[in-house]
Amino acid sequence: MELTLWTYEGPPHVGAMRIATSMEGVHYVLHAPQGDTYADLLFTMIERRDRRPPVTYTTFQARDLGGDTAELVKRSIAAAVERFRPEALLVGESCTAELIQDQPGALAAGMELGGIPMVSLELPAYSKKENWGAAETLYQLVRGLLKDRMPAPGTPKPDPGRWRSEGRRPRVNLLGPSLLGFRCRDDVREITRLLAEHGVDVTVVAPLGARPADLQRIPTADANVCLYPELAGTLCGWLERSFGMPVVKTVPIGIGATAAFLRELHDVLAMELPADLQIGPDGLCPAERSSRLPWYSRSVDSTYLTGKRVFIFGDASHAIAAARIASRELGFEVVGLGTYSRELAREVRAAAKELGLEALISDDYLVVEKAMAEAAPELVLGTQMERHSAKRLGIPCAVISTPLHVQDVPARYAPQMGWEGANVIFDTWVHPLMMGLEEHLIGMFRHDFEFVDGHRSHLGDGAPAGERGSVDGDRPGAVGLGDGPAPATGAAVAVEPPASTAAIATLEPPTNGGEPMWTSDGEAELHKIPFFVRGKVRRNTETFARERGLSQITAETLYDAKAHFSR
């Protein structure tokens, strides 16, 4: 038994619903009590779906338990088949039905379904979760539809370069995009375009938009692209084992990963690597110019992004991709990396280790929030829950992963993958930081006579990360005491702190009784430091003084500490 106040993933049958609802021509009969129909609203509200999920619930009640719930299952299956005439039928149960053991799959197998392929889903609700349920459903469905087409054991693997001898373009399947996934709709479009540019066709996209007949065409492609390992990993592994289909595993999120993805694709398909994907003497490949991110990141305007502390939490694929982009492509310092995807914990641990961190593997959002607060980041990249946590802590945040809120399903084209995805990521991650700086500007100008009181941004009263634990911002008269003139240009970049004062934040709480005392000259010196880094400097100096057993903090102590931390 485990106390859960909020959960990143739903139960496994919701994963199965994601597969059924992503597809066309599939219907899912779910043996479940009244109330479980709530899951419909995930699709109709978060995704703004214009159709109900193709799910028939038996909605059994207590009074049915004494009678024949198996009969109810059969009646529901028959009614669903007659009403919806699906091309494939999924039959399964939710947590409660699992306990009463009606075995709906076996019941369906004994029914005359008019030749409709039926796949029985056994998704253990008390040990597994949504993404596992989705992956298992996709795998079981494809396996069920391909079971008569499996090559005999010992059949040699098809040559992934056979497209050449067959006189056609190479072709791949895009596996894993689904509803309630993160930006899947746009990623599919972006990756399809990217593949087309390199002369590769897409045979099947699944589950999003696929029909059962499309799934049966999967083996006609030369390779599978595992776009979302959380959902497609199981299926890709099985297709590799059973059909000898190679898998392109790199998730193309970010510049480096997109280039690596294209190189892996060329390699897997035995295609010649084009010149623009070859790494030049400067360590770059010309194809990167297809995205603005590399130049935007190099431009002087981005100098202020240097070393920004960023905390990352999400599903495994998006968290790993975000860590790579943040650390290598934007020059951030990753101060926390974690996931709720236990199935892919190993991969996240490895990514964290590369950054000198220990990965946080947890599905308890309070543990995540605590880790976030302790890491004192300046930017949070997370799920909708981390957005809430970050807001409480007054830290700017961008959402990079499911679970989603309706506002994370934008109307505009906003992929995460490929070159355009990198552009979107640059904008989405950098804008909240700009907002953070505007927060500072408001503080800076609020004693000017033009300033209208109550003019606050959406971040409300939460102090920006750099100043947390400090009271400077709120102390009457404190601001303006030695903060220097307002930046002449007024541009956001102009308030960039001098590099020397951007010391490493510590986790120490603010000082109080029994702690080193600030002398008046120390206090005066502190106030000469731009207020948006003042909190950090105050904390560092106090830590420094405490560690050395100093009872007083003078101006000299402050500069000693500054020198110490800037090493």
Binding site: M1, W6, G10, P11, V14, Q34, Y38, T44, D50, A125
Partner: protein
């Protein structure tokens, strides 16, 4: 009213010339939340209480999805998610529950009442939460009161969760035979304050409410208690209070000007307060409420309304929307029909109103499509799909979260239904 029997297959239908209402019963797929959903408003009503669902990940996911965006640092509800080990042995499950409750109480010292809320899985494995509550009460005696009720989907629908929660509080209500009015059912605090002030103005001796704002400040009940139901889904609670000696007042529910006035007047009459006093206090409200309603009535009058079964508020809302807003009722669906609790509202429904108890969602949607009503009141799972078919909808869940009771809220209540229609006239992509 003549009721046709429950049928597993074809819906049956008969009309009754007596009351002029036509009742159908359906038994098929129900597109309604389970009783756990009530936690979403109950925990806000009683900030010193914690609601611990003993269930599965589905339960946790349901409550958080129904609650929408999580706005609390740490909500006062949670789920003790059963794992495979708990299913293997009930002894272990009880030990685990004790451990988990101990940890929870340590973490949340402000909790005064802990509700153990049964779910479908806990009911099916027969985890005895009454016994667990007894045991935990002994363990944490003096520190917290532990109660239990079921919010399971196999036994309760949506708003019935509140009925079960209030029934669980029943044994704790002190006995007091003094004259008092007891308002039963969660109201928004501001709305409740307003009713209290009005009752005081009319000269009622003592007015209390259930659930109280603090779980530890329970109202007494006894022979002098007159119960006025603020919500139409509290059948079990009403009967339990009557069993404790209270008198149940019959009145329409306080939705709209008419319903609110009759509701308050029924209370006043029960305490022998003359019509003149009532009129003196309520007439200005009625007059003002009607003024507030007028612009919305203009938009709603003559429009055809279809209510899908959801919160049990459908009958009183249908009464308000037809009588005060001039809407035409196509069908009024209810999860279940409690004729005693609905008597006053049923009597005010126009002759020929089609009632449907229970649900077969596919058949009901067929009727919606055939009838093409101007507005459908339905749950969140159905709203966008119907909108996509060109049928305007009003989310019913908003009705349990918004302050809609009372004369002062009548305009706002009508506006909730008028807004989707107004929006349609505003949008123009030509």
């Amino acid at each position: 009213m003549v009721v046709s029997p429950v049928s597993a297959d074809a819906p049956s239908r008969s009309s009754d010339p007596g009351e002029g209402l036509e009742l159908t019963r359906e038994n098929g797929q129900r597109e309604v939340f389970c009783g756990l959903t009530s936690i979403v408003w109950l925990h806000r009503r009683m900030p010193d209480a914690f609601f611990l669902v003993v269930g599965s990940r589905t339960c946790a996911h349901l409550v958080q999805s129904a609650a929408g965006v999580m706005i609390f640092a740490e909500p006062r509800f949670g789920t003790a998610i059963l794992g495979e080990r708990d299913l293997a042995g009930l002894a272990d499950a009880n030990d685990e529950l004790d451990r988990l409750v101990g940890e929870l109480l340590e973490r949340r010292p402000e909790i005064r009442t802990l509700f153990l809320v049964g779910s479908c899985p806990s009911e099916v494995i027969k985890l005895d939460l009454a016994k667990a509550a007894e045991r935990l009460n002994r363990q944490h005696s003096g520190r917290v009161i532990v109660l239990n009720y079921s919010g399971s989907g196999i036994e309760t629908t949506f708003t019935q969760g509140e009925d079960e929660a209030l029934k669980a509080l029943m044994p704790l209500l002190p006995v007091d035979d003094a004259e008092q009015l007891l308002i039963v059912g969660t109201l928004a605090d501001a709305v409740e304050d307003r009713f209290m002030a009005l009752f005081e103005r009319m000269g009622l001796p003592r007015v209390r409410s259930l659930p109280p704002r603090r779980s530890s400040e329970l109202p007494p009940v006894g022979r002098g208690t007159r119960v006025l139901l603020a919500q139409p889904f509290l059948s079990g609670t009403a009967r339990a209070l009557v069993h404790r000696g209270a008198t149940l007042l019959e009145a329409p529910y306080p939705f709209g000007v008419e319903g609110s006035r009759d509701w308050m007047a029924a209370a006043a009459a029960a305490f022998g307060i003359g019509p003149a006093t009532v009129a003196e206090v309520l007439d200005p409200l009625v007059e003002r409420g009607r003024r507030a309603l007028a612009p919305h009535r203009e938009r709603l009058a003559g429009k055809r309304l279809f209510l899908m079964p959801d919160s049990q508020m459908e009958i009183p809302l249908a009464r308000f929307l037809s009588r005060e807003c001039g809407m035409e009722l196509v069908e009024v669906g209810v999860p279940y029909l409690d004729r005693q609790l609905m008597a006053a509202d049923l009597a005010l429904l126009p002759a020929g109103t089609r009632l449907c108890e229970g649900q077969d969602v596919e058949r009901q949607l067929e009727r919606v499509r055939a009838e093409r009503p101007d507005l459908v009141v339905c749950g969140l799972g159905l709203a966008n799909p119907l909108e996509a078919e060109g049928i305007a909808t009003k989310w019913s869940i908003e009705l349990v979260f918004s302050p809609i009771h009372g004369c002062d809220q009548a305009g706002d209540l009508a506006e909730l239904f008028a807004r989707p229609l107004r929006r349609r006239t505003l949008l123009n992509f030509a």
